[in-house]
Symmetry: C2
Subunit: 334 residues, 2 copies
Amino acid sequence: MAAWLGEQGSVTAAALAIDLGGTQLRAAMVSSAGSILSFAVEPTRALDGPEAIIAQIFSLLEEIVRQNPGQVPVGIGIAAPGPLDPKAGMVIAPPTLRGWHNVPLAKIIGQRFSAPVWLENDANAAALGEWRFGAGRGVDSMVFVTVSTGIGGGVIADGRILHGRRGLAAEIGHMTITHEGERCFCGAIGCFEAVASGTALGRRASARTKPFDGSAMRALSANADVSGRNVVDAARQGDALAKQLLDDEARWLGIGFTNLLHLYSPDMIVMGGGISHGFDLLQAGIASAMRERAMPAYRDVPVVTAQLGHHAGLVGAASLVFQNHIHSEEASHG
Amino acid sequence: MAAWLGEQGSVTAAALAIDLGGTQLRAAMVSSAGSILSFAVEPTRALDGPEAIIAQIFSLLEEIVRQNPGQVPVGIGIAAPGPLDPKAGMVIAPPTLRGWHNVPLAKIIGQRFSAPVWLENDANAAALGEWRFGAGRGVDSMVFVTVSTGIGGGVIADGRILHGRRGLAAEIGHMTITHEGERCFCGAIGCFEAVASGTALGRRASARTKPFDGSAMRALSANADVSGRNVVDAARQGDALAKQLLDDEARWLGIGFTNLLHLYSPDMIVMGGGISHGFDLLQAGIASAMRERAMPAYRDVPVVTAQLGHHAGLVGAASLVFQNHIHSEEASHG
């Protein structure tokens, strides 16, 4: 690796990145400046077991390498669904991938490509991507929260990913914040996700409207159940009920975000996910709830939107490579 | 420092430690094995401003040094109330110490004793003490929770203290866990501290009894307001109402502890503070609430009691010295 960098110093260093999702499998060549040099995506064969998906990964990575003939990547980074063990490079048992149990994915891919491989869960990888190349550049501590179907997150604490036991830290969606609301799929009452996710917002909107009632939200949902995104879109059109629902949503987000301030003391909260497309409509309500509840020392911490969108996981996976590559360079020269 | 260790290798390395509380000022010489070699305490002159307390610290430290003539400490560690800036060694504005605003305490003490000084907030220092020398020995990640008048805590994450912005991480008492209960002193509703502290337990007990009603709890409180410790003591005597109040208390603790699992993923939760004296009576209820609410991957994380009692802060302050001393030794030899 070091030799290659030395020999071909004029070529930008790059990493191969994989973002293994339950729906889509994405691969890219990412430059050390965080730019996506080449990209490929296909539907994940999530029901076909690990062998089928590993074959998909091999073929996508080979395709990306073919597209970049001059580029020798310094390593491979993988973002995959948790639970996984980042140290062991092992995917443990993701609920979205059938048949995956303790798959040593990093080792399998490393052997095929004779390259160093790093594995991280998707939320942590996205947090890392936003921290290195997105909204969180330059801060020491950052919480990334993705609000869409569920609520997930990743924490950068004092300059590194917060892992905890088995890499399971930052299960932000399942902190209890209230006694109200419907039971969460996890079985508990009052989870942040159960009251503040896009799903919860859509459910509240569906309960306040009916199919064919002529409401803006049902028009946007084609009279099916209303989604969180439908509420955002209706509010943007000026719909009063949608605005009120977003005020409630902002309040729940503000309560959860205040907990994140008190517990992690980040320099910044970065909000991503589908509902962050309505951030301009939510921002005042979030800020108001946080001002009301956060202790004074935390009140000036900004909440901002994510910058990398769907590419956060890929860019973050590549960041794992650059980060660890730099560390090993330092160690070998130290 | 290194020279001294080399010359007098047979003498146990030791550190001076200060635990600056709003009520008591404690000082000790602590061995590198975590033993208190000598100890002194006096009431903190909390209302007299920083100069008076700094004079107290000087005189206590000098006393401790006199008591240990053969012992040359490798540094001085200070546990002090937050908010404080551990990097700058600065006490910012603790509510329990009048007139303290941005006092560079580490520098002041370092100059007087010509020694390296490290400063940490009291909850983080206690967490560090329990981790290095108490209940948390050997784990990578640990949450220390102290449940007494309020609820505080410190987090060891992946082998080091979790600081966050301005050292303000782990303000555990002020995470929102419910919409029930009385307003917290911080102004919010539903803080962990407001429903699960010893104060909250005592308040519930006082509301369920009356002075001179002949109840076990009022007998123990001499017919004054019932304290959390009174409830524990009455339950230990078999009082049915006290037991029921402890069941409620255990449930609130279990809800808060579950959040700590999901957010920090520690290998262990260590409970200290006055209410931990009733841990044997609370343990089953805490475990039951956690089993009910924690996601499966977190359910086998143990909750144990702290081992260092009142000395956790002092031992933790000394641990700051040993930890940083070892790091600088490694750096100078590396």
